[in-house]
Structure formats: structure tokens, C-alpha cells
């Protein structure tokens, strides 16, 4: 299982801020996870689309498409940050 977190605009449009997911065997990294989630359709297809300006973190560290994702990880997806 991995923990998935969604923040800000994503949390609202996906209708959830947190879920537990059994990691599919074929999903080895963040890029593959994003493609997998986009296949859920509707808002998922929009928010996870390849062209969408999306940021992610694995275990609370900024991550890129080739960052490995393994069982037990905490993975977060969110829009570019706007604090300060």
C-alpha cells in the first residue's frame, strides 16, 4: 500500500485529499503512477494529464517522473506552490 495525498485545487477537483492504494505491480515510478491515476477518467484525466502543470513529492521530498515509488511511500500531488 502507498498513501496518496492531494492538495489545493487537486484536492477539490478530485474530491479527496487522501487515499490508500495497493501499488499496481507495473508502477515503479512517479511518472507511471501519474499515468495510472489519469486512467480513472473524468477529473483524474484532466488533473493528471501530461500537459498539466503538476508538482509531486515522494516521502515529503520534491520528486520527478523518474523518482521511484515503492510500497509504504507517501506520495503527494499538488499545483505549483503559492505561499509567502
Amino acid at each position: 500500500m502507498i498513501t496518496l495525498l492531494y492538495f489545493a485545487r487537486l484536492r477539490e477537483s478530485l474530491g479527496t485529499g487522501r487515499e490508500e492504494l495497493a501499488l499496481p505491480a507495473a508502477v515503479k515510478n512517479l511518472g507511471a503512477l501519474r499515468v495510472y491515476l489519469a486512467q480513472r477518467g473524468e477529473a483524474w484525466a484532466v488533473e493528471m494529464a501530461a500537459g498539466r502543470n503538476l508538482r509531486a513529492a515522494v516521502n515529503q521530498t520534491v520528486a520527478t517522473a523518474d523518482t521511484a515509488v515503492t510500497d509504504g511511500d507517501e506520495v503527494a500531488f499538488f499545483p505549483p506552490v503559492t505561499g509567502g
Partner: protein, 150 residues
């Protein structure tokens, strides 16, 4: 070195007093306060709600302070960032950097603010007469942060 994320307001005098009473080597204290403006992108703003990623927020800000300590002489540093719902003229963020000399204090303080704007996981949602809207990341903020990467 201290990082706090909180709903309540902060008092810059109390923070600076605590910092300088703790270290008589401090000669220069640069600080920054971010404030909610009543207009953004041409629309009036009634309230501003800040969301963050608990855990990663504190971790990423601590990492930013460590980077600043590697570049400049930083005797002490504090970051306080508010979350929850704020209104125009409310304080949002406080950065204080203490050093022996002012050049280091100013540079480290501005560096931390530029990175807070571009790397720390906070998101703002504004309530305007047209409804709620998530604030878009600014290209100027990314440019400000990139100045330090050389």
C-alpha cells in the same frame, strides 16, 4: 533556527527581542513580513485561505534555512507562516535572520523568502466578488528564486 506553521498571528517585536537577548554577537537583524493585500490581479480580495502540507512544510523550510546557513553567516533564523483564513492587512509570513553584519542578514532573509515563495508547500485561495479562486504561481517568483542558483 526555528520554523513554525500556525493559525494565530505573530509578534515580530517579541521574536526579535528573544533572538537578540540570546546572543550578544548579533549586530544585524533583517526581517520580512508578508501582508494580505486587498486587491490581486485586479479583483478585490475579501479573504484569503492558506492550505499547506503538514510535515513537508516544516521539513522543506528547515532545508531552506540550512542552505542559507551554508552561504552566509547566520547566527539565528526564524520562519513563521500562518495558515487558515486571513483578511486584507493581516500578516501572513515572517522571516527573521540575525547575523554579525547586515549584508549577510539581508541576503539570507531575501533568499529564504524567495525559496518560501517557490518551494514551500503552501497554497492560497482568494475569495473575490466572482467567488473563490486558487492563486496561480507567479513567473516572477520563480525568477526571483533562480537568481540564487549560480
Amino acid at each position: 533556527m526555528n520554523v513554525r506553521v500556525q493559525e494565530q498571528d505573530f509578534d515580530i517585536s517579541a521574536e526579535i527581542t528573544a533572538m537578540r537577548s540570546g546572543n550578544p554577537k548579533i549586530g544585524a537583524i533583517a526581517s520580512f513580513v508578508g501582508v494580505v493585500r486587498d486587491v490581486n490581479d485586479g479583483d478585490s480580495v475579501a479573504t484569503m485561505t492558506l492550505e499547506h502540507y503538514p510535515g513537508m512544510t516544516e521539513k522543506s523550510i528547515a532545508a531552506i534555512i540550512e542552505q542559507a546557513r551554508g552561504r552566509w553567516e547566520v547566527l539565528d533564523a526564524l520562519v513563521v507562516h500562518r495558515v487558515g483564513t486571513l483578511k486584507p492587512t493581516d500578516q501572513i509570513v515572517l522571516v527573521i535572520v540575525a547575523s554579525t553584519h547586515r549584508g549577510d542578514a539581508f541576503a539570507a532573509c531575501e533568499f529564504i523568502m524567495d525559496y518560501l515563495k517557490t518551494q514551500a508547500p503552501f497554497w492560497k485561495k482568494e475569495l473575490t466578488p466572482q467567488g473563490g479562486r486558487w492563486v496561480d504561481a507567479r513567473v516572477t517568483d520563480d525568477k526571483a528564486a533562480q537568481r540564487w542558483e549560480k
